[in-house]
Point group: C2
């Protein structure tokens, strides 16, 4: 193990210990949050809202290709429930509903930046690992 790797791991241990510190509620919340964020749409919605600041329902739908309006509604409701987005209804006809990230939602986006950067940096390693694994499986 290189010195770099050793230091890397030391830092990681500290961070992990700090984050987990004997609080099962945090563990549960992290799992919920990750579960939510990983529900395939939430992260994308956070991303879109972070980029554009404030959008209407249809505006979000247009920028999240493939999402059904049912899923968009549900996603936004859950995000609203957890305080990640603020939903503003303008009482006009036709209805006008604006969504924007709260500071909490923005913060969650920030927190996931590390994951994005990691993914970008390790994209090829993962694809290579997959290819090697699949080759091994087919071979033996």
């Amino acid at each position: 193990m290189s010195i770099d790797t050793a230091r890397h791991e030391e830092v990681r241990r500290k961070l992990a210990a700090q984050a987990r510190q004997a609080d099962p509620r945090v563990e549960a919340l992290v799992n919920e949050i990750i579960g939510r964020v990983a529900d395939k749409w939430t992260m994308i919605v956070i991303d879109v809202l972070a980029e554009h600041g404030e959008l209407r329902f249809t505006g979000i739908a247009r920028r999240v290709p493939g999402i059904s309006q049912r899923m968009l509604t549900r996603t936004l409701r859950q995000m609203e429930r957890e305080g990640l987005v603020q939903r503003t209804v303008h009482p006009v006809v036709p209805p006008r509903v604006e969504y924007r990230l709260t500071d909490l939602g923005l913060g969650l986006g920030d927190a996931f930046c590390g994951v994005w950067i990691w993914a970008e940096r390790n994209l090829e390693k993962i694809e290579q690992a997959r290819a090697e694994f699949d080759a091994r499986e087919r071979g033996g």
Copy 2:
């Protein structure tokens, strides 16, 4: 908006732009990775392996309460396929199989530390937001 919030957002935008930069493959990979990590067990397994360095199948199972052996097998196989863990089979009886995180897996754990810290810091805000939302819903 406070100066702090403004700077915060500026940083965030830069990071997001850097992470996403016109590469749809990264976007797809992030979704896959988040999806994987969010599959309820992967993150916990990463955590356990990061803490203990190297463990056998049963050792992991013991430290991940509630996981079925089916799910543990599947989780470890997928992690292996993506190069997150290394699986070492010692040809003895009874079989002895050791699992440990690769540098890639360790890095992914690091990347998610930000999310853990965020969750820890915002635990109460989220619970409060949920309570308020639910109260609003029930009320009208």
